[in-house]
């Protein structure tokens, strides 16, 4: 039991460090989509909802499974869709306007 805990703790700490390293390189232009995107990642809690669903065997557990399912699904589906909607606006082709902006020498 204690080995499992220690292994998990090590993973936790290392993931925190990786997170700090990766996130601090993201430019402020993308901070809103990044926040929304990381928000979607914590929707992985839906895996937790699945686990408790498979273990549920009492009315209280069914209710909690249902609640966890609703909340986690809203988080994960909504989070990815809204992040994609934002980022899709960023990745629009810029060429048409880049041409006109070169005329400023005139």
């Amino acid at each position: 039991m204690i080995e499992t805990l220690f292994g998990n703790l090590a993973i936790f700490v290392l993931s925190l460090l990786v997170g700090v390293e990766v996130i601090s390189k993201i430019p402020s232009t993308l901070h809103t989509p990044m926040m929304s995107g990381s928000n979607a990642i914590h929707g992985v809690v839906i895996a937790g909802a699945i686990t408790i669903a498979s273990l549920a065997n009492s009315p209280a557990a069914y209710v909690l499974t249902f609640i966890a399912g609703v909340l986690a699904a809203a988080n994960v589906f909504g989070g990815y869709v809204v992040t994609d909607r934002m980022l899709q606006m960023f990745s629009r082709p810029t060429s048409s306007k880049a041409d006109t902006s070169k005329k400023d020498a005139s």
Binding site: T4, N8, I23, T29, I46, S54, A61, A72, S91
Partner: protein, 473 residues
């Protein structure tokens, strides 16, 4: 450990790697979208693996799975609907709501894990500590994020809501939550005690966010995002799922960094914001004290501004909260497009906290079809101001207050846009009212500055009309 468990572990690791790679690709606008899709791919892998593992190892019964399927369907429909229809100006609220539900889900998972053990013997501390922490943090972020979303949406007053004894009540509630939490750890599984933790944490979340001013709400959203990450990681400890631990830790780190960066850009300490410290008032409501003294102010009309812009070579637009509040991103983009077509070099100078959350202004401009290579970040923008003919400030105030370079005032040391380095400055603003920091801005009375008093949306439209006359005439 069976081969099957080993395989599941490896697949979880792969999914987690995809999360990291996905986040990593969000460092450039050109790869960011693919990054998000890769992260979503990791999510799909993690979810499918969990389903297979759960079916094979425990099976469960149809009521449990039924409750899950119905719940997930409802949640997914709600989430996707909101995500598809939300206005870009309302993104901060939606992020906050998705954050709330994530925290709530994490708390429910821990609660369910606890319920499964009620009536049995004492839980091992390696399970019960994460359960209690998860319920604590998850409920705080659930309640707090909903209140913050309400404040951003304007359903709940953006003014700090306090009442006599609020702080004492706050401490009391926190002590009850922690005390009950410790009791849960010490006694055999007792549902009532964990319910006390849940209710007290929800109350604490509400009480924590209510006294925070609307302008500070985005910082709180970011902080609560970090909390949710931690709650999810705790859920991972409770049910021994490394995918949850890794993803939760990543989000925890992301939220923490953003919170610190944002607080720095607003010249506030995170502690001061949480304690709802000094004169916390929403930018919109902090009118009053400063006099509307116009003696040293050069007042411009839309025509004046249009002439100045049409004859400039280099124009920098500094959009601020006022532009976001007036939803004038399309108007500003139209004006810029017109000027660019006329041969003027137009770029946007974007302060990290312009808008309602960090990077929000970039999203608003992207929505209005502004290519991201026209958006300059703080350092690039400040280099460009030295060579700029007209700086057009739209609804921004404190982020371009030159007093920030002097010591001893509310904005001292805050990173600002060097708008005053431009050859001339035009400020579109509704009035001379001070911004969030509540101090006057010497930029507005600078001889090279002209003020155009108007609502951002209408003012920009008027200027565009006026420019059109000059350009076509």
């Amino acid at each position: 450990m069976t081969i099957f468990q080993f395989l599941v572990g490896v697949i979880y690791l792969a999914a987690s790697t995809l999360f990291v790679v996905g986040l990593h690709m969000m460092r450039a606008p050109s790869t960011a979208r693919r990054g998000n899709l890769i992260s979503a791919g990791g999510m799909a892998i993690a979810v499918i693996t969990t389903i297979v593992f759960a079916l094979v190892s425990s099976g469960g019964n149809w009521i449990g799975w039924g409750a899950l399927v119905v719940g997930v369907a409802l949640g997914a429909v709600y989430g996707v609907n909101r995500a598809r229809t939300v206005k870009m100006t309302a993104i901060p609220q939606l992020v906050s709501i998705f954050n709330a539900v994530g925290g709530g889900a994490a708390a429910s998972v821990a609660f369910a894990e606890f319920v499964a053990n009620v009536g049995g013997k004492s839980l091992n501390l390696t399970t019960s500590i994460p359960i209690v922490l998860d319920v604590l943090i998850g409920s705080i972020t659930f309640a707090g994020s909903l209140i913050a979303a309400g404040k951003l949406q304007g359903i709940i007053s953006g003014k700090p809501l306090t009442f006599p004894g609020a702080r004492i009540l706050n401490v009391l509630v926190a002590l009850i939550a922690l005390g009950a939490g410790v009791l849960v750890l010490l006694s055999p599984p007792n549902l009532l005690l964990l319910l006390v933790v849940l209710v007290a944490s929800i109350a604490f979340g509400v009480l924590m966010v209510l006294p925070i001013g609307g302008a500070d709400a985005p910082v709180i959203v970011s902080l609560l995002n970090a909390f949710t990450g931690l709650a999810v990681a705790m859920a991972g400890f409770a049910i021994n799922s490394q995918a949850l631990i890794i993803a939760g830790a990543l989000v925890g780190a992301a939220g923490t960094i953003l919170t610190l960066q944002m607080a720095k850009a607003m010249n506030r300490s995170v502690g001061a914001i949480i304690l709802g410290g000094f004169g916390t008032a929403d930018a919109k409501t902090s009118a009053g004290t400063a006099s509307e003294d116009l003696t040293n102010v050069r007042v411009l009309t839309a025509d004046d501004v249009a002439i100045q812009l049409a004859y400039a070579q280099h124009v920098l637009i500094a959009p601020g909260y006022g532009l976001a509040a007036a939803q004038a991103q399309h108007e500003v983009a139209e004006l810029a497009k017109l000027l660019i077509a006329h041969g003027v070099d137009v770029k946007y100078a974007i302060h990290p906290v312009a808008g309602r959350m960090p990077g929000h202004m970039n999203v608003l401009l992207a929505e209005a079809n502004v290519p991201y290579d026209q958006m300059l970040q703080l350092d690039e923008a400040n280099a460009a101001f030295d060579n700029c003919d007209v700086a057009l400030v739209v609804g921004a105030n404190d982020v371009c207050n030159p007093d920030a370079r002097k010591p001893g005032n509310a904005v001292s040391g805050m990173p600002i846009l060097n708008v005053d380095h431009a050859k001339s400055v035009v400020v579109i603003k509704r009035s001379m009212r001070p911004g969030y920091a509540g101090i006057s801005n010497p930029l507005f009375t600078d001889p090279k500055t002209g003020m155009f008093f108007a609502d951002a949306k209408k003012g920009l439209a008027d200027i565009t009309t006026a420019v059109k006359e000059y350009v076509t005439a």
